[in-house]
């Protein structure tokens, strides 16, 4: 299980990555992230929405009310061009970080 601190840092990357696949509302977003990370990343409502609102303010995602197939109103989020642009350096940054940590742990276990 990944610790809470690291999860916080990966949260934005997780949201941007999942929205790259297509627009989603908050609950579905949390469900898919949990499913695709096999439970390693789990977003509660309290963790998810302040982050979504912050990302929306930054212009990375945009939310709009839509009517679902079940007739319910849901706020769907989609990636904006700025969000798409943000995704690739963010991925690179995290790949570098995990690469560095992998090398470090290998060295310390050698």
């Amino acid at each position: 299980m990944i610790g809470a601190g690291v999860k916080r840092g990966t949260a934005e990357l997780a949201v941007l990555s999942i929205l790259e696949e297509g627009p989603l509302h908050g609950y579905e977003m949390a469900r898919r992230i949990e499913e695709q990370t096999k439970g390693a990343l789990r977003f509660t409502l309290a963790a998810l929405y302040p982050m979504l609102y912050r990302m929306e303010q930054r212009g990375w995602i945009r939310g709009a009310w839509e009517i679902s197939a079940s007739g319910r109103r849901k706020r769907c989020y989609r990636l904006t061009p700025a969000g798409k642009k943000k995704l690739s350096p963010l991925r690179k940054e995290w790949a570098e970080l995990y690469g560095a940590l992998r090398r470090l742990t290998k060295v310390s276990h050698a």
């Binding site: 690291v6 840092g9 990966t10 609950y27 309290a46 929405y49 930054r58």
Partner: protein
């Protein structure tokens, strides 16, 4: 079916947002909780159990209210472009120009670089304010710090650092050639020399000084941010 909107509204009393925005937040959170509760019900829980489990997603409503409020209001007071580019750029410009004016008013006298012909200086003459140039790295560092702290991209940080020399660049690349074309009194034989000397003294040298401080600060800040990210995630 539980009225999740009423519940959320009760928990988020004091959420200081515009009424429409507040209603949207409440509706969105209620929709999430409703869906979550239904999911637990599908897994065989009683309605009470499912509701309790759903509500456990929020341990501290007051904290959630505060975080939602911060996320939706603080960042909207100033747009990111203002925080990351315009504010640092205009501050560095103001400081750069203000300091130059003070030095011009109170001294010390500038260093004049020109060819000498007997006792007179021959144009083009470069006027270099050394104390001003020496202070520019600090101003550049301040621009980099403000832009970086606001989460500015590399381009925004770079632009904030060199912004004070842009007016001079525009003057030498646009205004001076235009003046040379339309003003007969300008001596055309010194134009190229004046252009290059001016570009060096007022654009390249101050730009390099601003960049020296700015890039150093940026390097230091990005290292500090990286180490903080590694520690806190």
């Amino acid at each position: 079916m539980r009225d999740w909107e009423t519940r959320v509204e009760q928990h988020l009393v004091g959420l200081a947002l515009e009424p429409t925005e507040r209603a949207e937040v409440i509706a969105e959170l209620a929709a999430h909780l409703e869906e979550s509760c239904e999911e637990w019900r599908k897994q065989g829980m009683t309605e009470e159990e499912a509701a309790r489990r759903t509500l456990s997603e929020v341990e501290d409503w007051q904290n959630l209210r505060q975080r939602i409020q911060n996320a939706r209001t603080k960042e909207s007071i100033m747009t990111n472009r203002v925080k990351q580019f315009w504010l640092p750029s205009l501050l560095t410009l103001l400081l750069t120009m203000g300091l130059l004016m003070l030095i011009q008013l109170f001294g010390p006298n500038p260093w004049m670089v020109a060819r000498k012909s007997g006792w007179t200086l021959v144009a083009p003459v470069a006027v270099v304010y050394l104390p001003w140039l020496l202070s520019l790295p600090v101003i550049g560092a301040m621009g980099a710090f403000l832009s970086s702290r606001a989460g500015g991209s590399r381009r925004a940080v770079f632009s904030s650092i060199v912004f004070p020399v842009l007016p001079y660049l525009v003057f030498f690349l646009l205004a001076l050639p235009v003046m040379a074309i339309f003003n007969d009194r300008l001596a055309h034989n010194i134009m190229f020399g004046a252009l290059f000397v001016g570009l060096f003294a007022w654009v390249l040298a101050p730009g390099a000084a601003l960049l020296a401080g700015g890039l150093l600060a940026q390097m230091f800040l990005s290292r500090r941010l990286d180490s903080r990210r590694i520690v806190s995630g």
